[in-house]
């Protein structure tokens, strides 16, 4: 899983906001358990489990998350499959999840763990939306400018949205800084329409017949 690719599960319209909060709790706990030194290693193991084990073996993933498999069976599965190869910490983490019946949140927890890890390292994701794809040089320039302006190191996630027409939209967390041409044109349109209406309305007496119709 590359750094720039969002690690959260694909944004689904039925995404449950409270599931995210639960996932964040487990993510924090996982990182805290790993300690400051072991964070990168623990995260690598976690990512590899999702990418290399669960993704190529969807049946196994289904077996782990489905409610048909009982809690004890899941624990047994983890003991037989993960325990021999995985680290003890990660196996224990999976066992805790299985015991709490939260295994289906695994991809969500991984996403939150990445975000939390980056935050702890003083980095944060910044979505940069443009009308056309940007080359590396341009992105580097933007990264430098943002790093100078922001209190953290930005991880740029470039996105292309042709409807922007031109300019740049930068999103940090929930805050969007919109410098796109689309917004400016819409702004100008609104102002022109308002001025136009005002002008017509205020000039109506001038245009109308002084003695009425």
């Amino acid at each position: 899983m590359s750094e720039t690719e969002p690690k959260t599960r694909p944004s689904h319209v039925l995404e449950d906001p409270s599931a995210n909060v639960v996932a964040r709790v487990y993510a924090n706990a996982f990182l805290n358990a790993a300690g400051e030194a072991g964070q990168a290693e623990a995260l690598e193991e976690f990512t590899s489990f999702v990418d290399d084990v669960l993704r190529p073996n969807p049946e196994f993933a289904r077996l782990l998350t489905t409610e048909v498999t009982g809690r004890e069976e899941k624990l047994g599965l983890i003991d037989r499959v993960v325990a021999p190869t995985g680290s003890e910490r990660f196996t224990n983490f999976l066992r805790v999840l299985a015991r709490h019946e939260r295994l289906e949140l695994l991809p969500l927890i991984l996403g939150e763990t990445w975000l939390e890890h980056e935050k702890r390292a003083g980095r944060q994701r910044v979505i940069v939306r443009t009308a056309a794809a940007l080359d590396e040089k341009r992105l580097d320039g933007i990264r430098e400018r943002l790093a100078a302006a922001l209190p953290f190191e930005p991880i740029l996630i470039p996105e292309v949205d042709e409807t922007l027409v031109g300019g740049l939209v930068v999103q940090i967390g929930d805050t969007v800084h919109d410098g796109s041409l689309r917004t400016r044109i819409r702004d100008l349109k609104d102002r022109l329409r308002e001025r136009y209406l005002n002008e017509i309305q205020s000039g109506r007496d001038r245009f109308s017949h002084p003695e009425g119709n």
Binding site: S11, V13, L14, E15, D16, P17, S18, N20, V21, Q171, G173, D174, T175, V176, H177, D178, G179, T183, R184, D187, L188, R191, L192, R195, Y196, L197, N198, E199, I200, Q201, S202, F207, S208, H209
Partner: protein, 516 residues
């Protein structure tokens, strides 16, 4: 008579030259759920309660529920075009409506958009829809009368400027008619009237507008329309928008009258929103804060003190009851907030007593101070007399033999009931009301047959206006009934009685002959 194209072109050119694009910063979120007039969104981490948000299709919303992980938003507009996954932007503003002189004479929706096809409303000022009510120190007691032009109301349940008088009754008992007559009676006066239609049928609203126009009342009125087909959020905010528009005039030292027609429907819209937002239901499934929903609205009606300009906002909320059930949740709530109520009864309505005001249980808690001295004098004993009459009437129906005094009291009562009837859209000047009620209570109509009291009254008022205008003018100028004026009034009424008697006898003889 032509638009000067180059003039407008130069305005546009200047606007383009001066245009400086600024980077727009906003908080964003995503819609995760959308339903009947509401949406739930994630993100929007710094949104505030009551803040306006904008959906990606341009529709506005209002932050209603702030939950741990999501924000509940009520959608003020077309919610059918909003989809899950749409982006929402905060605006950093509270919901506001345009206010100003330009609103007068217009029909608008609760957001201030014109609905009457008379072009845009050009006003630069706006006012938040929700504002705190004036405090104790900002007010003064209600002392000035607000004439409704309805005899039964002005005499027995007088309304003062800044008062909140509830109009309550079953469906089709003439609640709106009382409010409309009050608006029409403000013609030529200094009161700006606002009629808020909330959850009404569009046809009824159109009728109201037509009635106001036909009676020349739109010149000083504003109609805010959230009909039954509008989404619940608009019905919910409509009364607040009306109050905001009235407040603008009130704080300028002007007098305003706000009719909320009706608050039952607003409470139902609020219940719908609250239940969709999963707020816990209470009695009759209304949320716990439905009382506050009405109290904060009606508290905004006030008579401001002299430092603030002495303006006023009189509120006439309307509540519809089911089968006369005034002890239901919403009616009791609103009765306890208001300064009195005008109770309309279907039995009276169908018996032909219109307005169908039950004078026994209609009260005005503060309006007495606001009554003119003349009216106070003539109407003093009216309520008691009528109450005594109702008891006697019930007794008389048993067919008992009655003594002459009781029979006289009964006859007087029948004539008073007849006198208090009043056709719709015909409000009376207060001087005419004083003369009518004086004539009735002093027995000047005792000789008139009951079915001719209305005609006698009409002719008497005509006679007073044409031939005895000095008496009428004296009442209008002094607003009281001094002993000289009273003597002159007695003489005039006696003169009329003699004249009417002759005519009536002639008429009666003719009628008897025909019927026989």
């Amino acid at each position: 008579m032509k638009f000067k194209a180059d003039e407008i072109a130069s305005v546009i050119q200047k606007e383009i030259e001066d245009f400086k694009g600024q980077i727009e910063t906003a908080e964003v979120g995503r819609v995760v759920e959308v339903g009947d007039g509401i949406a739930r969104a994630v993100g929007l981490s710094s949104a505030m309660a009551g803040e306006m948000v904008e959906f990606s299709n341009g529709t506005n919303g209002l932050c209603f529920n702030m939950e741990e992980n999501s924000v509940g938003i009520i959608i003020l507009g077309d919610y059918l075009n909003i989809q899950e996954g749409d982006e929402i932007k905060t605006t950093g503003q509270l919901l506001s409506v345009p206010v100003g002189e330009a609103m007068i004479g217009r029909v608008i929706d609760p957001l201030g958009n014109p609905l009457d096809g008379k072009g845009p409303i050009v006003t630069s000022e706006r006012r938040p829809v929700e504002t705190p009510a004036p405090g104790v120190a900002d007010r003064q007691p209600v002392k000035e009368p607000l004439q409704t032009g309805i005899k039964a109301v002005d005499a027995m349940t007088p309304i003062g400027r800044g008062q909140r008088e509830l109009i309550i009754g079953d469906r089709k008992t003439g609640k709106t008619a009382v409010a409309l007559d009050t608006i029409i009676n403000q013609k030529g006066g200094d009161v700006i009237c606002i009629y808020v239609a909330c959850g009404q049928r569009s046809a009824s609203v159109a009728q109201v507008v037509e009635a106001l126009e036909a009676n020349g009342a739109m010149d000083y009125s504003i109609v805010i329309s959230a009909t039954a087909s509008d989404p619940a959020p608009l019905q919910y905010i409509a009364p607040y928008a009306g109050a905001a528009i009235a407040e603008y005039f009130m704080y300028q030292g002007k007098h305003t009258l706000c009719v909320y027609d009706d608050l039952t429907k607003q409470a139902q819209a609020y219940r719908q929103l609250s239940l969709l937002m999963r707020r816990p239901p209470g009695r009759e499934a209304y949320p716990g804060d439905v009382f506050y929903c009405h109290s904060r609205l009606l508290e905004r009606a006030a008579k401001l003190n002299a430092e603030l300009g002495g303006g006023s906002m009189t509120a006439l909320p309307i509540i519809e009851t089911l089968e006369g059930e005034v002890s239901a949740y919403i009616p009791t709530n609103v009765i306890s907030i208001t300064d009195g109520q005008i109770y309309l009864e279907p039995d009276l309505f169908f018996a032909g007593v219109r307005p169908a005001i039950n004078v026994g249980i209609s009260v005005s808690r503060v309006g007495g101070n606001a009554q003119t001295k003349a009216m106070k004098k003539v109407a003093g004993s009216l309520r008691l007399d009528l109450a005594a009459f109702r008891e006697l009437e019930a007794f008389a129906q048993l067919g008992t033999e009655l003594d002459a005094a009781t029979q006289r009291q009964l006859d007087r009562g029948y004539r008073m009931v007849e006198l208090l009837k009043q056709p719709q859209y015909e409000p009376l000047h207060f001087a005419d009301q004083v003369i009518s009620i004086y004539a009735g209570t002093k027995g000047y109509f005792d000789t008139v047959p009951v079915n001719q009291v209305a005609r006698a009254e009409k002719e008497m008022l005509q006679f007073m206006a044409d031939e005895k205008s000095e008496v009428r003018n004296a009442i209008i100028e002094s607003k009281e009934l001094s002993s000289e004026t009273e003597d002159a009034l007695k003489a005039a009424l006696a003169e009329f009685r003699d004249r009417f008697k002759a005519e009536a006898t002639g008429g009666l003889v003719g009628e008897t002959a025909e019927t026989a």
